[in-house]
């Protein structure tokens, strides 16, 4: 099989407008991946599936990954001369920067014909809240059908062009996306009219008590 770097060069030669980034995996497995821009993802997927020498006709695994917003603290050191004539003082200033999070879909491709692989594709959404749309690769590989539905269900990524995008594991009226890192499980799984015990403690932790009405009845 061609190396990932060669595949990337081939893709860039074929799609000059596309952005294909090589993401290295520092672990011992060294399974590197290609980050595609959503606009060209489906064309690139078709190219990977059909062009001779690659023929990745089998999409094995489709995964969602949630990367929440990260607060990065950067420390810069500046030396300030000591007015008393001593050695220079080193002052650390810390600046906080919010790195926006994103949702990611990861595709593991193999070739059943040439028996090579994997090539790992990654697609990233713009953020985690309102721009969560990615192109669906189900028209290219049918095996993505249920797995993309599962990502939609558990992570909340909306796949454009999916033939049947519904919740698959959770029930249809369910509101949240349980596999997100900031998901909070409901306080009581079986509703009870007067919460007490553990359920009450959890509810009080998650929902701040409403502001006490002035002149309300005594407790």
């Amino acid at each position: 099989m061609e190396t990932l770097e060669e595949i990337r060069t081939r893709l860039l030669a074929r799609f000059p407008a596309a952005q294909v980034t090589l993401i290295t995996n520092p672990g011992p497995a060294a399974e590197h991946s290609l980050l595609l821009d959503p606009a060209h993802a489906r064309d690139i997927a078709l190219f990977l599936r059909d062009s001779p020498g690659l023929r990745f006709n089998y999409c094995s695994n489709v995964t969602g990954v949630d990367w929440p917003d990260k607060e990065v603290v950067e420390t810069t050191k500046t030396s300030v001369p000591d007015p008393a004539g001593g050695p220079d003082k080193i002052v650390e200033t810390k600046t906080k920067r919010l790195e926006p999070g994103y949702l990611e879909a990861v595709y593991h491709l193999y070739s059943m014909e040439l028996k090579h692989g994997p090539v790992i594709l990654r697609l990233r959404t713009a953020n985690r809240t309102d721009q969560v749309t990615l192109p669906s690769l189900t028209p290219v590989w049918r095996s993505c059908e249920f797995q993309e539905r599962e990502i939609f269900d558990l992570f909340g990524v909306v796949f454009n062009g999916h033939p049947d995008l519904r919740r698959i594991l959770m029930w249809d009226t369910f509101k949240d996306h349980p596999m997100r890192k900031d998901y909070v499980a409901p306080d009581d799984f079986e509703w009870e009219p007067t919460p007490h015990g553990d359920v009450l403690a959890k509810a009080q932790k998650h929902y701040p008590a409403p502001a006490a009405p002035s002149g309300g009845p005594a407790a």
């Binding site: 672990g27 399974e31 590989w141 049918r142 594991l169 959770m170």
Partner: protein, 398 residues
């Protein structure tokens, strides 16, 4: 009776409904067609192998649309995996597919070993192969039994299969302490070393297994009702099987030679001499035969493994059990489970818990083509087709 073309066998097969690509409802409003009838099959139905539901739309007796409904057994296994340490997820993997705990364990151990760069000693590799192939025997013989239950044989073949299964489960129990929830593999080896007595008993069982298969086949393979009900039913074309990511015996029944034991050569499989049975028509009968033939190949692998099993440690002495924290990175480890490719995709951020823990469930993805295979058939055939896919709902719903 070996038909060369399945469609000649059953002329209704090339029914006008069997459209490729999942085109489903065909609204016809003329005097020959009545209203479409929607039938909800399951979740509490003995032929759905657990809590699985199919919503079938019928035109007369023929299925024109069939939507599977999942999630009745969903407990968000992947979230559980993210909230526990790597090793604590091992017993949970037993509960995925409770017929093949050993292969689930192995797939997970393989993924973590890949993630951490952990070698495995020779004896443990052989033990893993022995246990995985015994699991394949258990799974396939049960599947054949259940398939015949769906065909209406009312338990006789299933009890033949369970008789053999119990013998193997006794071995598993003697080794791991549990009949079905083995929790046997560890990162860098196995948990218990089998005694010489155990090995002798297992070897004897394996030597006797072909006799059971002969008996089983004599009873079932040529059975006329079985041939009539399965040949040409639920044909899965080769291209669709590849595109839909079907794996395991179901893929090979459609004539695609893709077995991860050969392709990836994980473990010590390249050292073993075995063949991959291939089907020709991709119908239910071929899927049944794949299981029988694979069991015969498994027996060959097992006999070879018992002959060559080396002495030595079963755990890598440098393997870290406590405070196991793989370096940041990700890995996808996959093996050929009895139902297909079972894989684990792990992302580590350097902590004691995986950052992302994903299971690639074979039977869930094999269900993608359930609708395509059932279109144009009757409900009774849909039950048989579902039985031949071989699903376990613990794994489908996770």
């Amino acid at each position: 009776m070996t038909p060369s073309d399945p469609s000649t066998l059953n002329p209704q097969l090339s029914a006008p409904f069997a459209a490729p690509g999942g085109a489903t409802v065909r609204p016809v409003h003329d005097e020959f067609h009545g209203d479409l009838l929607e039938v909800s099959l399951g979740p509490q139905h003995p032929s759905t192998h657990g809590v699985f539901r199919m919503v079938a739309t019928l035109d007369g007796e023929r299925i024109v649309k069939l939507k599977p409904v999942f999630g009745y057994l969903h407990r968000n296994h992947e979230k559980l995996g993210e909230n526990t340490t790597y090793l604590a997820s091992m017993p949970y993997t037993d509960r995925l597919d409770y017929l093949c705990s050993m292969t689930n364990n192995w797939a997970y151990a393989l993924a973590v070993e890949k993630l951490a760069g952990q070698p495995v000693p020779d004896r443990a590799q052989y033990l893993r192969i022995i246990l995985a192939e015994l699991t394949r025997l258990v799974n396939h013989s049960c599947l054949v039994g259940f398939l015949f239950n769906d065909l209406g044989t009312s338990f006789t073949p299933l009890l033949y299969a369970f008789r053999e299964r119990e013998k193997i489960l006794d071995l598993f129990e003697a080794l791991s302490g549990s009949r079905m929830m083995h929790n046997y593999q560890r990162f860098g080896g196995c948990r218990v070393d089998p005694s010489p007595d155990w090995l002798a008993a297992a070897s004897k069982l394996v030597d006797n297994f072909p006799r059971f298969l002969d008996e089983f086949e004599e009873l079932l393979t040529g059975n006329e009702i079985m041939l009539a009900r399965t040949q040409g039913v639920g044909v899965l074309p080769r291209d669709l099987a590849i595109n839909a990511g079907i794996t395991g015996p179901m893929l090979r029944a459609s004539g695609v030679a893709y077995d991860i034991r050969k392709v990836d050569g994980y473990g010590f499989y390249p050292r073993f001499d075995f063949r991959i049975p291939l089907g020709e028509h991709g119908d239910t009968y071929d899927r049944y035969m794949m299981r029988i033939l694979e069991m015969r190949e498994s027996v060959k692998i097992l006999q070879q493994a018992f002959r060559e099993l080396p002495a030595g440690p079963i755990m890598d002495p440098k393997a870290k059990i406590r405070g196991f924290r793989p370096k940041p990175g990700e890995a996808y480890g996959r093996i050929e489970g009895p139902k297909g490719e079972i894989g684990f995709h792990l992302i580590s951020d350097g902590g004691p818990n995986p950052y992302r823990y994903r299971i690639r469930p074979p039977s869930f993805i094999n269900l993608t083509v359930l609708e395509d295979m059932c279109l144009g058939h009757t409900i009774a055939d849909a039950v048989v087709i579902l039985g031949s896919i071989d699903i376990v709902l613990g794994e489908v719903d996770r």
